[in-house]
Amino acid sequence: MDVSVVRAGMQTTVQDLGRRGHLAEGVPAGGAADPFALRVANLLVGNAEDLPALEVTLIGPELEFAEAAWIAVCGARFENVPAWRPVRVEAGGRIRFGKRLQGCRAYLSIAGGFDVEPVMGGRGTLLSAGIGGFQGRALRDLDVLRSVRSERNLSGHWSIDERVLPHYSPEPTVRVIPGAHAEEFGEALYTGRFGVCARSNRMGIRLEGPRLARAGSGDLVSTAVAPGTIQVPPDGNPIVLMVDAQTLGGYPRVGHVASVDFPLLAQLAPGDGVRFSRTTVGEAHALARALEHRIALLHQGLSEKVRSR
């Protein structure tokens, strides 16, 4: 089934839950910056949770559907687009993302999933290498995507309980596991508000706030870094690495954001602000388990509403 891109929006890419096993080759995991929203968007239309969907950034697209389809949009909220529920689009119908209301990235799933070839074990777009997704790039006006045909009966007119959602906010507090060089930076990371710079992207969120001055000195050797790693370059403005970040880094590591809070990072738009609080690896794992439990319950509840035929 064809989905025509009438207007592409600012940066609309095909994403899934990322690739594993290629970090040693310098290839980041990538995938949805907000994996929670992508997973739920898939579940809402009866898909397996890791199918490729569209990641919409700040300015959404306008899409035309050649045939009737079930879709769902989760994550950032936009005018004209109902969020966190399945939506029936009729043949020839259009979805036009209006003004952004909250958040940065929305995920549009379609029953059956978008039909793109896997590259290096993932169907997501890695913009820095020009691979995966739709021709290795962000969508452009007049592109035509294909979705895998699927016939499903969904019962409409309901949406998921918002209490299961992460605490999305333009001013969130995210939890941080202190990094190897945490002590060299004292309390500064945990005491102020950090503003999100416009130069932020899928590789990293650039922050400006209290300067993080390092007590130690000297160059560090490059080591592996991970999504969530908070690096501090010499200018003292921290960078939170995101899903498409480089695999090695040589800046001091003041901390690492807990995975459970990646959705909150992914929804930060330029001008938003973030605060940090301390956590531990054990607590981060417990939070991740609790999130998985919530998703499992959601999945169970949804499977009663979604029937394949």
Partner: protein
């Protein structure tokens, strides 16, 4: 071995050694032991400069509920003690990489030569005359960090990084040299360009080079560069 959390899904192991950190051979041998153990839930093993990072899926380490991190640490320690872990790493291959030095392909060659007080031709010969060791792969897909740059060619990174460095660019950054496998921003001094693809996503592995490999550069003409297939 010092272990530290790299967030909640990775552990960074720093191998103990004398001055200058653990040898590349030891790092690769340990990384190989971790990979060879095929422990379910370990998704990636990333060696670099005296360290090896093991990425894991916490939900696969639930034997001791609440201590996935400890379980991964114990697993890594067991790999270090495994016979063969301290043994020789697989011998690296020697690869020849053709480079067209200077001109439009190496816009910083003149500047590097000036900084190093040699002619551009001498700088190119020095670069092509040495044998390099791949210490790590990262930064961008397939990017090799190469050690072994002649001291006479050391040149600081550019004050302002370029927003766009074309794929294949061969560059010098401090005491290291490297090749940009994909178009990317970059702050190193670009002295030439290779027509050879160092990142080939359709192949396995996609990165042409691996840590431990050795590299020699061979100077080619602009005509050779253009006609390379």
């Amino acid at each position: 071995m010092k272990l530290e959390p790299l967030g909640d899904s990775a552990v960074l192991a720093t191998l103990e050694a004398g001055n200058g950190g653990a040898s590349l051979a030891r790092v690769l041998s340990f990384a190989e032991a971790v990979v060879a153990a095929k422990r379910p839930g370990i998704t990636d093993v990333v060696p670099a400069y005296g360290t090896v990072a093991a990425f894991y899926d916490p939900s696969r380490f639930t034997k001791a509920l609440g201590d996935a991190y400890g379980e991964v640490c114990r697993f890594l320690e067991s790999c270090a003690g495994r016979p063969g872990a301290a043994g020789p790493a697989p011998a690296g291959r020697l690869l020849e990489v053709p480079v067209c030095y200077g001109g439009i392909h190496g816009p910083d060659l003149e500047r590097v030569a000036e900084l190093c007080k040699v002619s551009a031709g001498e700088a190119a010969s020095l670069h092509a005359g040495a044998e390099y060791l791949v210490h790590a792969i990262g930064f961008t897909p397939g990017f090799p960090y190469l050690g072994g740059l002649p001291e006479a060619l050391r040149a600081p990174r550019r004050d302002t990084p370029r927003a766009h460095v074309p794929a294949g660019s061969v560059a010098i950054g401090g005491s290291q040299t490297g090749v940009y496998p994909v178009d990317s921003p970059g702050g190193w001094q670009i002295i030439g360009r290779t027509p050879m693809a160092l990142f080939r996503p359709a192949e396995t592995p996609a990165a042409l080079l691996r840590p431990g490999d050795r590299v020699r550069f061979r100077a080619i003409s602009p005509q050779d560069f253009s006609s390379w297939t």
